[in-house]
Symmetry: C2
């Protein structure tokens, strides 16, 4: 079942919008094991859209096209589909009602143009999911068989989904993938799970997992793959295939346990977790509150923690001590070089005390482009202070050298500091 | 001169990397007035790459292909070009020397594979810009004329550039665009400039500029276009065409002056400016230092200010007062509702005093998803305090209702606060 993707919209060609839909759909197809060899972008021009769809049908069994389903005269996907199918467009009265109702329920009057969205090529059906006003379409096509010389046809299909990413995603996940699998005769269920790691290089991870990957290569199911993800560490994706979802999930759970055994605390989360959500959960589970002192990151640690809904249970606040004098005056950092393990330690203890939290964490360093205190860009000192240091609390502090330019150094510093806090909390558990 | 873009790489089809190169090139082509009707992504498969390139030559005059120029066996663009051109590959000795020298100058030994990068199809020339090890190629092609029935050919061209964005961009800006313009017989120079605005809706801007746009429509040069840019306000792009760069720049300068006259202080910057760089420049020019108090943004205002190199001249630091108690205890906010204009005012005055800066700014509000103090998500209060309020300093404070979900509300709050500070500083100038 070869499937290709067509993204429709002049704004995509002009670079006013980057087409992320095709990448996302390509990833979903790969996850369920459906081949996809081409992705094409074409503008809002009927002849060119028709030409691209015809070519896609010539070389593939199914086509997913995104965009051009809106209400305006520029939205030509419905007309193009009718032309490719060789049928007229008809207005679906139930859909007309439905769209009218959507507008009424939002107390908005409906522009007449929107009724164009109730049209479909004769023979096409609507996709049940319809999160916006634009309905998606499933269009069966009898197409000349390229392997035949006697004019035989084969049954192919075009799916049309809107260009708005969340509308598109709901339709692809709800209808398109399952329909493709059914047509392809794929009865196996494919599931995947991604383990997030921090603190080890790709070659280091590969070494730890080498024997397991070798063993899996023999069976071919489940499989392990590495995914780099920039600032946020390396990911290990487990993919499993089984006759039922339950069996696939059981394979995943079993393999996850094996990988976690090999990688230990390097694995900090699964799927949609982030280092900040994981750290907040660890603190919440221990009934601890957090304060943050930041220099080169300028508030980015706090900002990322507050991205997580519910952060207020744990995160009390912090001090951005960008100028050295703010470190000395507000955080009682001893006068002297401010890019040092000593300064980071004083900042962590200071912010914990000043803000009134159980745990204080701090980061200071040189983001660049210039040096500071004769230390080169990328030099970063971090500290974690759990409990009052004058009453049995403990401080961990480290100096690291982070790669990249100003922005990368600052982003690496954020996740490095949160990663240090995570390790500290886990070690405290083991020490107890 | 119809040009199309081909992006090569299996990782693009699988969604492991989003193809942003095609969008960027599409935008550059549009800016110089070259038509581009198709963009195609294809995997690392020789037959399919050759097929896509042949089709592109059938329907366009020029093709820009990105990616597949690396040293590994997966990098097949050179082979595909040779096949399309119907010529063999040859090794260029000068290029071999150059690549070897690049490795030696970085004290690295060169994998033999990298010598593949010194190959080029016979008849192709290297692109002079070569920021990485991969050379780009200009490949002239004699191609069957689709309008001819007697087998005549026309001269077409394929440019091959690397998939690494900054390498690709240097080659496109340095060689490809100028070569395309020369082939297209474009002698005019096109230049553009983007004015960044904040504080007015798209329809409001359109209304202010309506007469001017109408007048320009008649002449067609320069032109004005609106670009939405999400969180960062609306942009007005001026594009001018002239026989020389100097004349084009003069047209831009003249038009910029007219637009600024119509939009007044709504225009906050030009091209690569950001609201934070603009605000830092305004403060620096006035010899003022800045402190920030943040609640719902959690440190994002400070973090964005520190993204700008040289921020330390102006930005001293801040207090992230996420928990109400931190507002009361550290910033002397009166006990009571913390999402209020009064709380924002106290925070701005408090952080100015505590951190020791000339100007204090503050933001508090409800990011969502839940309510706070019975105020709905999106309610945001901001304040700007210039000088000591007890010694003639002034405080501006406003309450606004921002759209979107948690992340959007927080991001809108950041630029809204910086925008308020900017307006305050400009008004102070006019008041003086």
């Amino acid at each position: 079942m070869r499937t290709e993707i067509v993204a429709i919209g002049t704004e995509l060609l002009l670079g006013q919008i980057t087409d992320t839909n095709s990448s996302w759909i390509g990833e979903q197809l790969a996850l369920v094991g459906i081949d996809s060899h081409y992705q094409t972008k074409v503008g809002d021009n009927l002849d060119r859209i028709v030409g691209v769809l015809r070519q896609a049908l010539d070389r593939s069994d199914a086509v997913i096209c995104c965009g051009g389903l809106g209400p305006t005269q520029d939205d030509l996907t419905r007309e193009a589909l009718a032309a490719v199918m060789g049928v007229p467009l008809e207005t679906d009265e139930a859909m007309e009602e439905r769209i009218l109702h959507m507008f009424m329920s939002r107390s908005r009057s409906m522009p007449t143009n929107n009724l164009r969205q109730a049209q479909r090529p004769v023979g096409a059906s609507f996709i049940p999911e319809q999160p916006g006003t634009a309905p998606g379409l499933v269009c069966p096509v009898e197409w000349p068989d390229s392997d035949s010389t006697d004019g035989a046809t084969v049954r192919k299909v075009i799916y049309a989904v809107p260009g708005v990413p969340w509308e598109m995603q709901e339709m692809v996940l709800g209808t398109v993938l399952a329909d493709l699998e059914r047509r392809a005769g794929i009865t196996a269920v494919i599931r995947s799970r991604t383990l997030l790691t921090w603190g080890e290089s790709e070659s280091g991870l590969a070494e730890r997992l080498a024997d397991r990957i070798y063993a899996l290569d023999a069976s071919g199911n489940p499989t392990l793959a590495f995914l780099a993800s920039g600032m946020e560490g390396l990911k290990v994706r487990i993919t499993a295939k089984a006759p039922t979802a339950e069996e696939a999930e059981a394979l995943l759970a079993d393999e996850e346990a094996r990988v976690r055994e090999l990688l230990g605390p390097l694995v900090f989360g699964v799927d949609d977790d982030t280092m900040e959500s994981v750290v907040l959960d660890l603190l919440r589970g221990r009934g601890l509150t957090l304060a943050v002192a930041e220099s080169l990151t300028g508030g980015m640690v706090g900002s990322r923690l507050c991205d997580v809904p519910g952060a207020s249970d744990v995160f009390r606040g912090g001090i951005v001590a960008y100028a050295p004098a703010v470190k000395f005056d507000l955080l009682d950092v001893p006068r002297g070089p401010v890019v040092s393990v000593e300064a980071a330690t004083a900042m962590a203890a200071g912010v914990r005390r000043v803000v009134g939290a159980d745990v204080g964490i701090a980061v200071t360093g040189v983001a660049g482009p210039g040096e500071q205190d004769a230390r080169p860009p990328g030099t970063v000192c971090m500290a974690v202070c759990v409990g009052d240091p004058e009453a049995g609390g403990e401080v961990d502090a480290v100096e690291v050298r982070l790669p990249g330019r100003r922005r990368q150094v600052r982003e690496f510093a954020v996740i490095s500091l949160l990663g240090l806090l995570r390790r500290r909390l886990l070690e405290a558990d083991r020490g107890a």
